[in-house]
């Protein structure tokens, strides 16, 4: 097996500029000096909660259970959950089955990207509570959830900041 071919497939080496796979290091590691003030970082706790919902929801459990019940223990040729969900269980070692496996990987990646998306949103969510968010509806949920814990300061009266990212 030439290892080079796995770069994309198995291990995802992130570019240096990638933020979301090292967000916790920027926020929780690095040098701290006790006498300095740490700027309040509202919104970060929220994203952790959101991620947990994705990872361990009842929906996930039901999906696992469903997939599990389709595993044919005697003639097991199919391997992945999405493949099983795709109805290729048992005796399905066909090209169609292999395609389903590939599809499953894409789905899995999408699921991971979904978590990243949440991180992105949660980080962005802290942007402009004051700003009425009709233009970016997708940010509405984390923003609302951030509201109860948000920092009270003079900044609420300041002009709102245009959000530049995404």
């Amino acid at each position: 097996m030439p290892t080079g071919t796995y770069t994309e497939e198995v291990v995802r080496i992130q570019r240096t500029g990638t933020l979301y796979d090292c967000l916790e290091l920027i926020l929780d590691r690095g040098m701290v000096i006790d006498v300095f003030i740490r700027v309040s970082l509202v919104g970060i706790e929220i994203l952790k909660i959101d991620a947990r919902i994705v990872v361990a929801s009842v929906d996930t459990y039901l999906r696992f259970a469903e997939a599990c019940n389709r595993v044919d223990l005697e003639f097991d040729r199919s391997k992945t959950v999405p493949e099983l969900l795709g109805g290729v269980a048992g005796g399905g070692g066909s090209p169609a089955g292999r395609m389903a496996t590939g599809l499953g990987k894409k789905k899995a990646k999408k699921a991971v990207a979904g978590v990243g998306e949440k991180v992105k949103r949660a980080v962005g969510a802290d942007d402009d509570e004051e700003e009425e968010g009709e233009r970016e509806e997708r940010e509405s949920r984390p923003r609302r959830r951030a509201a109860p814990t948000r920092r009270r300061s003079a900044s609420a009266s300041e002009p709102s900041e245009p959000s530049e990212e995404d």
């Binding site: 290091l25 700027v39 990212e165």
Partner: protein
């Protein structure tokens, strides 16, 4: 978690370098209207700072500005990156701080000189569910139970057991990976716990060893692909290795 609004003379601190370190000109820092980056020197050290923005949040732009500056500085010599969001009341307090921690900082700078941080996360994977069903007694038992008496509750319990099993399997694979990679890194530390990950570890490496390290990760990822998904990020500023002690 309420922070007072920063005083007008407060400065945002990006990192600490040696006093001889050249800071590239024309850099700007964090904030909506980013201020120019400058240094404040004390003894053998310098802190890289800018005027603190009036209000700062963990926006993508600001996190990137913080990280990019640390990476850029790293090209010309060792850097101790600050945690995001550190604001000092004024330049004088930065100077005092540099002087009082000079020895520790110099030791830490020496430790990260010519080195980078690589971060590895391991996550459970749903690949090869069949072997989990066959090998995990709890999953097997609950699966049989769910078949005998199907229902919502039985399904949830089975699914939970699967999730636990996938996590356990990934954690075992991650332990193998960690042991192998620790042997080739100069230092290894565990990062903060991240939801969904069974391993979050950072490795301190000589810059020249990076390719070799990536190859090792690739090989391990292929070997463990049915048990864990590996995600490697880097090179990063040495966030996890800012202490002088080994």
């Amino acid at each position: 978690m309420t922070a007072p609004a920063p005083a007008p003379r407060s400065v945002y601190v990006y990192g600490v370098v040696r006093a001889s370190h050249t800071v590239p000109p024309g850099r700007i820092g964090v904030g909506e209207r980013p201020a120019p980056v400058r240094t404040v020197r004390a003894g053998a050290l310098a802190a890289v700072i800018s005027d603190a923005p009036a209000r700062l949040r963990a926006k993508r732009r600001d996190l990137l500005a913080h990280q990019d500056l640390a990476l850029t500085l790293g090209r010309d010599g060792p850097v101790l990156p600050m945690r995001f969001g550190m604001v000092a009341p004024d330049e004088e307090s930065v100077r005092r701080q540099l002087l009082s921690t000079q020895n520790d900082c110099l030791a830490a700078l020496e430790r990260v000189e010519g080195r980078v941080e690589m971060n590895l996360k391991a996550l459970p994977t749903e690949a090869d569910l069949g072997s989990l069903v066959r090998e995990d007694p709890e999953v097997g038992r609950l699966r049989t139970a769910a078949r005998r008496a199907p229902g919502y509750e039985a399904s949830v319990r089975l699914g939970e057991a699967v999730a636990r099993g996938l996590r356990r399997r990934a954690a075992a694979a991650a332990a193998t990976v960690l042991a192998e990679l620790s042997a080739v890194a100069d230092a290894t530390v565990h990062g903060p716990e991240v939801e969904g990950c069974v391993l979050n570890a950072s490795f301190l490496l000589d810059r020249r060893e990076r390719r070799r390290f990536e190859d090792a990760v690739e090989r391990l990822a292929a070997a463990q692909r049915d048990r864990a998904e590996l995600r490697l990020t880097g090179p990063l500023p040495c966030y996890s290795f800012t202490e002088g002690r080994a």
